[in-house]
Subunit: 352 residues, 2 copies
Amino acid sequence: MARGAVLLGTGGGGDPYIGELFVRAKIEAGRMPTIIDPDELPDDAFVVAIAGIGAPTVIIEHLVSEVTLLRVLARAEALYGRPIDAIVSAEIGGANSMFPLALSAISGIPVVDADGIGRAVPHLEMTCFSIDGIAATPAILMDDSGNSVVIEAASDKMAEELCRVVTGAMGAVAFGSFYPMSGGQLKRCGVLRTLTQTRDIGRSIRLARTAGRDVFADLIEVLERRDGRPARVLFDGRIVDVMRETRDGWHWGRVTLHELTDAGQVFTVDIQNEFIAARRNDETVAIVPDLIAILDRETGEPLTGEMLAYGQRVKVIGYAADAKLRQPESLNVLGPLAFGLDEPFIAIEDRA
Amino acid sequence: MARGAVLLGTGGGGDPYIGELFVRAKIEAGRMPTIIDPDELPDDAFVVAIAGIGAPTVIIEHLVSEVTLLRVLARAEALYGRPIDAIVSAEIGGANSMFPLALSAISGIPVVDADGIGRAVPHLEMTCFSIDGIAATPAILMDDSGNSVVIEAASDKMAEELCRVVTGAMGAVAFGSFYPMSGGQLKRCGVLRTLTQTRDIGRSIRLARTAGRDVFADLIEVLERRDGRPARVLFDGRIVDVMRETRDGWHWGRVTLHELTDAGQVFTVDIQNEFIAARRNDETVAIVPDLIAILDRETGEPLTGEMLAYGQRVKVIGYAADAKLRQPESLNVLGPLAFGLDEPFIAIEDRA
């Protein structure tokens, strides 16, 4: 699941390594996270989204604290004034898919097989929850030093801004509870069954690798199986440049690739926490909200933005976003313009 | 009181003009703020400090919202889980002395004749409340746009940092409730009867002005009457330069003065929200936490940092800080070093 989450995280959402270790240790100790299908969730259940916020470069080095996760849960129940029946990932992404599983393992509260966006996004207000009118706040943000902040914002854009500055003051990473909602709301507004999708992706990579099959052929098939959303390998080559900086709690950058055999082909991927645009010889071939993933070309291992390094041989995959993300009201908040890219959204399957 | 608060605010704490208009309008409408002496406050009363946070340059242009003040009060009572028996100023300063009076006028809750420091300071953790171990949080910060943030910090230094970034995200000014405490704590840790001191200062200036007496002679007498704390005119001259910038929500600057008749005498006052150091020909003559005030030399009107302008004829007054502020544990957090000034605290009366 961690491996699949890195692919759907499109470079963002944090490295799952620490979270994966944490969940694995709990499972080995007999404490399994519980995942329930959306159909098992009563409409009147009380659900909150659990997420880590911060610069992915920092999240990598930050241990998940069991104490903090349990404190977030306790404080959330006190704030909302009722027990939490289930938790959900705000987004799919390496670390952010692991935190709810970790919390489930230690608390027994089930995780719903769904999330708020079916990928990772750099802003709260870009989730389908926000787009469909479920408020991100009241929210709680906590750090490992005993600081806690409750936010009630007039808009999710303001919630994002407040979370961002508070996270900065907390040392660039914080954990929190967001989007208090009913089971009915989650089923109507979330992107459903994305946790099992991460499992299927991860399993496909592992099995193809073990059997010595072409990882990418299997992977494209598994991705396209979901609602027939097209996926394709956009580029096969070598990283010749990685430009990266962490600024204002954000991860900005651009990766440049050449083909292994033909240096004339230049491929770039822009990063704004996530991979947001892929271009071949300056011509856009995939753009947000469609998903862009970069994987090791030999092992098929999905890579986060922080893992990319000069000389790596990789394949870049483009994958059509969930239909919800391509609706006009969604494109208004998470289309190319929302990322400062001055070009329209064109679906990956409608490009040359 | 507004006039006296600007003097004790040592250049910071905001312009009282808007707050004064607000309180005056309430008084004319028959709604008087209630001020009680600390002796009238039961030890088990529940008290909170009310303050505006933000860059003084912004506070000037920002109208006090009655709705926001009442919302702060209601949310504070909900957060603390009990009715608020009395409110107090976190610091004395133009705007920050007016907010509690305004809230008292509209809510009927009395203001205690005291504050947290007897002057204005740029950081929460610099108040005597913090120094004496009363935590600044749980605190609430709200703006006029319906955003609210509850902070519980592991230290008052962290509380300050969180308040600062949240205030920045809220548009550089926010109102809040801090330092939930008992009446007994306030009486033990606060600087007492500073509101009546602002009244006495203001009255002295007005009466001397009306009677055509020397405002400064009367003023020094009124200031020294309080516990015998020495006050003196440090400089009499003309502003020849004002350097000022608002950066990271802070007001930084330096004012340079010459004597009216002798340009050889150069006097400077450093600003860090408040006036923090006064020097004659590079020799320090007053330094935090002792108070430095700049007043119009003809009318005796106390001036905030933002009111200072080239060509103004002013007198600079130095005034010994309350004894509490000069204790070693206080100097650790609000002495010169805390402001990045590399010199020891020397009391104004111990200088040449």
